[in-house]
Amino acid sequence: MFVARSIAADHKDLIHDVSFDFHGRRMATCSSDQSVKVWDKSESGDWHCTASWKTHSGSVWRVTWAHPEFGQVLASCSFDRTAAVWEEIVGESNDKLRGQSHWVKRTTLVDSRTSVTDVKFAPKHMGLMLATCSADGIVRIYEAPDVMNLSQWSLQHEISCKLSCSCISWNPSSSRAHSPMIAVGSDDSSPNAMAKVQIFEYNENTRKYAKAETLLTVTDPVHDIAFAPNLGRSFHILAIATKDVRIFTLKPVRKELTSSGGPTKFEIHIVAQFDNHNSQVWRVSWNITGTVLASSGDDGCVRLWKANYMDNWKCTGILKGNGSPVNGSSQQGNSNPSLGSNIPNLQNSLNGSSAGRYFFPPLDSPRAGSRWSSYAQLLPPPPPPPPPLIEHSCDADTASLQYPHPRRRSLSRPLNPLPENEGV
C-alpha cells in the first residue's frame, strides 16, 4: 500500500513542519536551523530541493502555502517573534540557475512580542488573509487588501485567548451559511485545568471575532488542531492532537432557533478519542476529502483513522516513521490497553470489529539502486485487549523484513547538495 520514500532533508536541526501545496506537487519544510526548504516533485516522483534559504533568526515553527491563485506564496512563523510572507520569483528562462527558484521576503509581521507559534492562510474565498497566533495568547488576523501587493498587510483583528497559543486552524467551509471561524489550541502546561481549545467566529454585525465555543473537555496541552476539509458538509469536523487524538463534530444549530446576531451555537460531539500513541500526539492532518485523519505522536508512528458508515472511527494503518520495519519486539500493540482509554467501550468495540481487516501488502525485496526504499508497515490496527494471537502474526510478518536498513543507503548519498540560497 504505502511506500516510504526517505528524503535526505539536510536540515541542521529538527524539522518542525511539513506542508504540501494546493496541488500536492510541492512541499515546504521548516526547521529550527532557521531555514525553509521547498521541494518539488519530479516526473519520476522524486522530491528535489529547489530552494533553501534562511528565513528567520530563530526556530521556524510552521510553514504554510497560500492558494496558488495568489501566486507561489509561503508564510512562515518563528521563535524570533515574527511571521514572514515569501513569494517565489521565477527567474528568466535564460537564467543560469535554471531550476533554482528564488524566494523573496514580501513582508515581516512584527506585532507579536513573543514567539509566533502558528501561521495559516485563510480559505481562498475570504481573500488573502493570514492568521497568526503567538505564545502570549493573541491571535492576529492580517489581510492583504490588494492581492497583487504582498508587501502590504494590515492587522485586522487581534483576538485575545488568555492562554499561550500553539496552533490555529481555519474552518475551510466555503458555504455562505458558515461564517468565518477559527479554532485555537493552547499548549499551556500550567496545572490549572482550563479548556485548551477555543473557537472564534466572525460576526457580521459587529465585524469582530467572538468566542463561539470552548471545548471544555480538552484540558491537556494541545499541540495541533485541524478542521477537516468541509466539502459540502453541513457540519464541521475538528481533530485535536493533545495527549491523545480526538475528533469532534460541530453541528451548527439552525439559525432560526438561536437568537439572531449572536454567535452560532453548535452541537458538539466527541466522535472519537484514541490514545494509541501512548504519549503526546504532535500532529494531525486530514486527507483531502476529510475522511481519513493521520496523526503522529511521540512513538514515532503515523496512524491513520477512518470512520466507517456508522461513523465509528478506527485505526486503518500504522506507518513507522523512518520507513523501517516495525521491530519484532514492538510493544506498541499490547501496551496500549494497559494504559487504558478514557472511553474503553468505544475503543474495544472499534478494535474488535476492525482487527484483521487490513493486511500486509505482499512484500518483495526492494529493487537494487532504486530509491523506493522500503515498504512502510501497514499493520493491522492494534489488536483488542487480549491480543497475543494477532501480535504474533505481526512478529512473523515483520521478521521476514530484515533486509539491511534501507534509509542508511539513501542517506549515504545526499539527495541534493545545493548551496544555501539566501532569499534576498
Binding site: 536541526d13 524539522i15 504540501f20 523501517s324
Partner: protein
Amino acid sequence: MLCASKALRCALRELPGGGARRAGTGRVGGGQSESVRDVQFSIRDYFTFASTFENGNVQLWDIRRPDRCERMFTAHNGPVFCCDWHPEDRGWLATGGRDKMVKVWDMTTHRAKEVHCVQTIASVARVKWRPECRHHLATCSMMVDHNIYVWDVRRPFVPAAMFEEHRDVTTGIAWRHPHDPSFLLSGSKDSTLCQHLFRDASQPVERANPEGLCYGLFGDLAFAAKESLVATESGRKPYTGDRRHPIFFKRKLDPAEPFSGLASSALSVFEMEPGSSSMSWFVDTAERYALAGRPLAELCDHNAKVARDLGRNQVAQTWTMLRIIYCSPGLVPTTNLNHSVGKGSSCGLPLMNSFNLKDMAPGLGSETRLDRSKGDARSDTVLLDSSATLITNEDNEETEGSDVPADYLLGDVEGEDDELYLLDPEHAHSEEPEYVLPQEAFPLRHEIVDTPPGPEHLQDKADSPHVSGNEADAASLVPVDSSFSLISVSHALYDSRLPPDFFSALVCDMLRFYAEQGDVQMAVSVLIVLGERVRKDIDEQTQEHWYTSYIDLLQRFCLWNVSNQVVKLSTSRAISCLNQASTTLHVNCSHCKRPMSSRGWVCDRCHHCASMCAVCHHVVKGLFVWCQGCSHGGHLQHIMKWLEGSSHCPAGCGHLCEYS
C-alpha cells in the same frame, strides 16, 4: 583593572596584589579610530586582554606591548558589544554583536578560528560563559528582547534555557559563583535584580514540536520526525519512558548531562503505490462522468458504468436507482402529478425500501410511509388507468412508434429484448444481482415479505375492470412468481408509473448523505444530471456550497476542463459567474511587441496580424499559444512540436521560450 573608553584609546591601569596602592598606569593602543565596546582580560593568560570595537573588529593585546595589538580580526558585521573568555578553555573567546550573533573563537591557532556561531533573535548585549558547563553561555539583549537565554553552542539554533522574568531590557547578567552553574543574577531596566535558578528556566526545546505531518493530495503523507523518535527500538526505549513522565524530564537538564548531539529530523514521504493512489477514483470519475448533452437515462447508465468500472458499487447502484426513478417508461407528465401522488406512494414503497437500505442511513422514516401506502392502495386504480393513457402519449414522443407502449408494457412477460434505451426489464433483472451485496439483500427481502402492500395492491389491480387483464398480469404476477426478489418487485412496480416527484425528498436526502460522507462529487454530479428535477428541493445555499467545494477539489487536481464544465452547467448564479470573471487577455503584438488594444488580432500600430503561427506562418484559428516573454506563438500543436526539438523561439528572435 582594565578600562576602555569610547574615546580613541584603551587605557590600562594595573593594581597588583589587590592593594589600593596605585602601582602604575599604562596606556595601550594609540590612534584607535573606533570606540571600544568591551574589554576583557584573559582568564588564564595574565598579560592578554581582548577588546571589541564598534566596527566589528576584535583585537587581542598584550599589556607588555602597548604600542600595537597582537592580533586583530573582524568578528561581526556591525558593532561587537561584548566578549567573554571561556573560564576553562583558555583559547576560547565568545563575542556578541548587533548582528544578533554570538561567535565563539578559538584564539590558540595562528588565525582566530570561528568554532561556533549562535544565532539569537536580537542584538547581543552581554555574553557570559556558564561555569562548569563547557558549552553553555548566557546572553541577553539590549533592546526588544527582555529574556535571558542560555545556549548550548553545539546546538546553535535553539536556546537550551530561557528566563522570562524581566519586564524590561536586561542590562547585565552574571553567574553568581564561578563554580556554581545553577545561579544566575541579572539586572534590568524594570528596576529589579533577579536571581534565577537554572532549574526553573523554561526550555523552548521541550515545547518545540518534534514532528511534522501533512496529508498530500493523492493520499501521500509527508512525515518529518526527530530521529530519536523514529530510531530503532533499543535507542528509543529510555527516551519514551522519560516522555511519559514530564516531571522527570524537566529535571533532566543538569550540567552533568551528556550532550545528546545535534537533534535532527528524518523526512520521509509515504506514497501510495503507483496505481493505488487513494484519490485516483476521484480523478477518473471526474473525467469520465457524463453530466449533460444526452438523455437522462443514458447519462445515468453511463455514470453507473463508470462507477462500476472503478469498483464503486454503491455509487453505481445509486445511478441505476436514479435512472429507474426518473426514466421509467411510466414517466408521468408533470401536469398530472398532483393526481397520481396517492397512487405513487403505494407503488413506490418496495422500491423506496430498497433504496433506503442500500444508500442511506437506516430509519429514514419508511415506516410512516408504509402505513400510508396501505390505505392508499385501494383507491388508486382509476388513476392508474388514466395515467396509463398519458404514458402512452409520453412514450410516443420518446420512442419511435405509436404502438410501442403496448409492446413495452408487455415486454417483460414476452421476454423481448428491446434495444430501447429506456430500461429494459430483462436487463435490469440480470444485472442487478451483480452488485447487490448479499448481506444487504437479506434484510430487504424480509422487509418486503413482511409488508403486505405489494401483493395487496396487485390483488386490487387484478380485480380492477379498468385495466386489461393482459397488462395487469404483466405488471403484477411477475413478482409473485419470482419469489419476491427485490428486483422483480421494483421492476413490476415501476411499470405502474411512479411519479418521480415522490422520490425527490429521498433523492435530496441521498445527496446530502453523499455530501456528509465527503463525496461531494456525487452530490454535484447528480444535481447536474437531474437538473430541475431535484434542484428546487435543495436550498440554494447548500447547492452553492456543494458546487464551490467540488470546483475547489477539481482545481486542486488540475481538472480545469471538468471544473469549467461544472461551472457552466451550474444554475446557481454565484457559481456560473465564476468563469465570467477576469476573462481579459493581455496580449502583445508579436510584431512590434507593444500591447494590443481591444481591436481583435490586428495590431493598431504596425497593422500586422498578431495571431500568425510562428511555425507555419498561417493565421491561427482555434487554440493559440504564445510565449509571455517574446509574444511569439502559434498553433498549439506546432509550438509543442517545435519546442520538443529546440528551446529557442520558432520566430527566430533568440528568446528561450518556456512551455509549461
